[in-house]
Each structure stands twice: as structure tokens, then as C-alpha cells.
Symmetry: C2
Subunit: 190 residues, 2 copies
Amino acid sequence: MKKSIKPGTLAFPTPVWCVGSYDGDGKPNVMTIAWGGICCSAPVSLTVSLRKATYTYQSILDRGAYTVSIPSVKYVAEADYFGLASGKNTDKFVVTGLTPVRSDLVDAPYVEEFPVIFECKLIQTVELGLHTQFIGEIVGIKADENILDEKGMPLMDKAQSFVFAPSNKDYRAIGDVVGQGFKSGKKFIS
Amino acid sequence: MKKSIKPGTLAFPTPVWCVGSYDGDGKPNVMTIAWGGICCSAPVSLTVSLRKATYTYQSILDRGAYTVSIPSVKYVAEADYFGLASGKNTDKFVVTGLTPVRSDLVDAPYVEEFPVIFECKLIQTVELGLHTQFIGEIVGIKADENILDEKGMPLMDKAQSFVFAPSNKDYRAIGDVVGQGFKSGKKFIS
């Protein structure tokens, strides 16, 4: 039996993505967002949604660039902190001791300690209401060598990434393999 | 040591969302997408990206509506199949034996057997290239009563949802709790 729930931002699971940018003084900043995703394959692009009130908002517009650093489970406290504090009055890299690295492809920093990095060039800004959606072309991906498979692809198990559960307000590890993409469903095709 | 990887749609994890719509003849259809997410909190909205070549694409434009049904692990084969077959020449509900239910709020069907449903009214269409992004206001949420907590919120553990790992091309269950949102990071705030 289904019950109706008041509309809210409860769709799950959501990613935990740390968005890196430089402010007007060139100070590296990073904020965590849960509202984003891949949005197009040509050009290869992803989207992150931010409120105008965030410090990162203006930085992305000014520099036309951002990165997405995907944290591993061991950095869950740092990732949570990146969503709690504001770069306006804090240097979140200094506070956490993590290392900002300037991307060689876009005008934005990424988090060296996180295993998977997407370097994005802002290509479109969509005003939605309280949030603004930044659409960024992925011009580069960087990953720790020790999480790559023999074809050079990043393995999710080794990246140890995690998700956010909006209604529970907690972070969850990625669990066991439960099916194969483009394969498990073939049993319905005769 | 970080290694550069050719840009691709590798950001993870991605959701596994089944998008419901009616075609021109009123036949219910459902397709699985991995590229979407919550995008705004006021109006509360989510986005799904589709190629123009999909059968669902025109249905969403014609009806101005779609649903997102979030499957539980026991339906991983059905969800995978919904991404393999096309509604153009198949009735995916008949093939899988799952039940289409007409939303009472938007002109689109959802999957009765899946525990969490979002009912969306199309409010914006963003052309990105190969993919088109549909932005839908969430006008209703429905969830199985047995997955709700005492406050009436859907619990991710009980929903038994799962994610897709793009580089591994497999589906993963949601794992253990590894941190608390808006709390784990407080240790960095003095």
C-alpha cells in the first residue's frame, strides 16, 4: 500500500561530490554537494546544483570552471565538513589538512587525497529557482593509479566512494554487486 | 600518484531510476536511466537526461510529465531490462509482469512494485547535445507504508535501492552507514 508524502528532495541515493573552485583572491575552496549527476555523453558533461548564497557560486561564474573530487570513505568527516563550513571565512583545506592541487586543464583546484577527480569547464548555467544548475563539460579525469583496472578504468570498490541518504541524513558505503549492467535484464528477452 | 583518463561518463555512483511515461496511444512505458538527480529545492525538482532517440523522449514532451520509480534490489533484472528494451516495439510491463499505475497527480504511470515513486511535472527542457535534460517539479511522492519511519519518511535501508557503477558496469547494493550528515564534519569546527 502506497502512502503520499509531502514533496521534498528525497530522491536517493545521491552522490557525495566535493566541488573545487578558486575565489576572487585565488584562494582554493571546496564544498560538498549531493545534487548533481552526469547529464550528457556528447559533450561529456556533469551538473552540480548550488544556491546563490554559497561562496562557490560566484567563483564558478568568475572562473568558468570547477572540479569534482569524489571522496573515499576514510574522508567522510572531511567531506561532511566541506558542506558545513563556508569558504567565505574559512580555508577548508588548511582546517582539514587536505591538499589543493591546481588542475592543469581548468582554472580550479581539486583535492589531492581523493581518488577520482573530474575537471569541468562551465558550458551552461540554468536558473531553476533557489538553486542554480551549473553544467560543466568534463575536459579531464584524474584517478589514483592504484584504483585502476587493467584497462585503466577506475574501479568503484577500490575508490571506496559513498552516497548520501537524504531522508536518513547519513552516509552509506557502496555494498555488494547485485547485478550486471546490460546483462541481468536479458532474461526477459527471448 | 594520479593518472589522466580519457573524459567519459564515469562519475559515480549513479542512481538507477525508472522513468515512467505514456506514449501517443496511452500505452504505459518505463525506461531506466542513470543520469539524473535532484537539482533544486524550491521548486522541488529533479532531472533526468535522455537521448532524443529513446521512445520515452517524445512521450515526456507530449504529456509534460513523467514519474521516477526507484527499484529495490529484488527487481534488479527488471530495472536492467527497462534500459535494454524499447517501448516502441515492446510492452515492458507485460514482459516483466510488473504493474503500471496511473498517477493521480501527473499524466504518467509508475511501477506499483517499486517502493518509492516521484511524480514530476515537466517545467524545463535543456538541450545539451546528444542528451536532453528534462527538469521536472516533484508534485508528489508515494512510498510503500512498510518503508516509512515514525515521521513518515522513506528509509533507504528498507527501500533496498541500489546504484550503478559506470566503469564496472554493474549494480551495487547500498552498504553500511559510514557517517552522519551535517554531523561527522563538526569535529573540524572548534
